[in-house]
């Protein structure tokens, strides 16, 4: 145990997550930085695709890391830290999305907002348009697409993260993909 505690946690060196977590639990707050550096990009990508707003995404990712640190005592080492962190992030994003929809409703109806964000013209060949199409999906469908294709999760991982059954997730992904494809084709045809 003493030897483990003496080993430096250097960014780039593949120190196992569980070892870092043990050090943080032992009071070494700075060791947590290694986990933040390791997963920040992946978390940010998920949040940006889900919320379509960099500032909101940054805030949500920050809150997720803070919550993970605060409740690190509840984390069980037999689970992968990355999956546990992702569960927290998914919940934070869901909460942020609900809060934002509520705020949006006070200003403009969702249907009107969707019309305003649809891209114009025939060119759907940019990440902006794909992101906009993603934004038009039902939030649960967007979550399924982002977890599966953006974050590259297996259905089993997704089931752990979302609390849904694998079969339900497969259905959700297929529906979401069909809807996304239809939207992009529709915009390309216009």
């Amino acid at each position: 145990m003493t030897v483990l505690a003496m080993r430096p946690v250097t960014p780039g060196m593949e120190c196992p997550d569980a070892e870092i977590v043990r050090r943080v639990r032992g009071g070494d707050v700075d060791a947590y930085r290694s986990l933040v550096e390791r997963y920040h990009g992946r978390c940010l990508r998920y949040a940006v695709r889900m919320l379509d707003n960099r500032a909101d995404a940054e805030e949500v990712v920050q809150d997720a890391f803070t919550k993970a640190y605060r409740y690190l005592g509840s984390y069980r080492e037999r689970d992968a830290f990355a999956a546990w962190l992702m569960q927290i992030l998914v919940n934070e994003v869901r909460t942020a999305a609900v809060r934002r929809r509520r705020d949006d409703r006070a200003l403009v109806s969702l249907d009107d907002a969707s019309e305003l964000t649809a891209p114009r013209g025939a060119d759907a060949e940019s990440v902006t348009d794909v992101q906009q199409a993603l934004g038009r999906l039902d939030p649960s469908h967007r979550e399924a697409i982002v977890l599966k294709y953006v974050d590259g999760r297996t259905y089993e991982d997704m089931a752990v993260i979302t609390g849904l059954r694998v079969s339900a997730l497969k259905m959700r992904v297929k529906r979401a993909r069909a809807h996304l494809e239809a939207l992009l084709e529709e915009w390309t045809d216009d």
Partner: protein, 188 residues
């Protein structure tokens, strides 16, 4: 939409947004400002394993041993005998080796160019089971399904999902889109 086009979409979506190093610092500043919480069970476990002095008389020790022995005997008896319904407790027992039964799926869709059936039996893959146009506007396919409950839907022209109007609806329609349910009986 072609697979090539879909691969392009995936690549675009996977493109990492640039990470501002300052945002890592912001996270760490916020982390340092909070106190980690100790879960209730950890506090309880610390209380349980905390060393404490215990006075034990020979009579108390004998009583404790007797209680432990009775608990062990009861546990072994419970593990050694199956429950009255033959199932082990705490785990679902699925019938194994059940023969599949042919189920015919029918959809009237005169304007459709292609129709497929998707469900929990084919991982909701629209390319797995294509229906054939058998009469004027009637599409049909026969699928061998295992006995039990199956949730399914039709997909028209690759993107429009429609439930089977002649079948019950699945209750897990939690996002405003319906599926249908097929109950397949086991053969006798």
């Amino acid at each position: 939409m072609t697979e090539e086009r879909w691969s392009w979409i995936e690549r675009e979506l996977r493109r990492d947004p640039p990470v501002d190093p300052a945002s890592i610092d912001r996270v760490m500043r916020q982390v340092r400002a909070v106190e980690p919480r100790t879960p209730a069970w950890a506090s309880f476990m610390r209380w349980v394993v905390r060393p404490r002095a215990v006075m034990l008389s020979p009579m108390h020790a004998a009583g404790a041993l007797a209680v432990a022995a009775i608990a062990i005997v009861i546990s072994m008896a419970a593990l050694g005998h199956p429950s009255p319904d033959g199932a082990s407790r705490g785990a679902a027992v699925r019938p194994s080796g059940l023969a599949r039964r042919d189920v015919q799926f029918l959809l009237v869709a005169p304007d459709a160019k292609r129709v497929s059936v998707v469900g929990d039996f084919n991982d909701w893959n629209p390319d797995a089971v294509q229906l054939r146009r058998t009469a004027a506007g009637v599409w049909s396919a026969v699928v061998a399904l295992t006995p039990g409950r199956h949730v399914y839907s039709f997909v028209i022209d690759g993107s429009k999902w429609v439930p089977d109007a002649s079948a019950p609806r699945a209750p897990e329609d939690e996002y405003g889109q319906s599926n249908s349910v097929a109950f397949v009986e086991s053969g006798s």
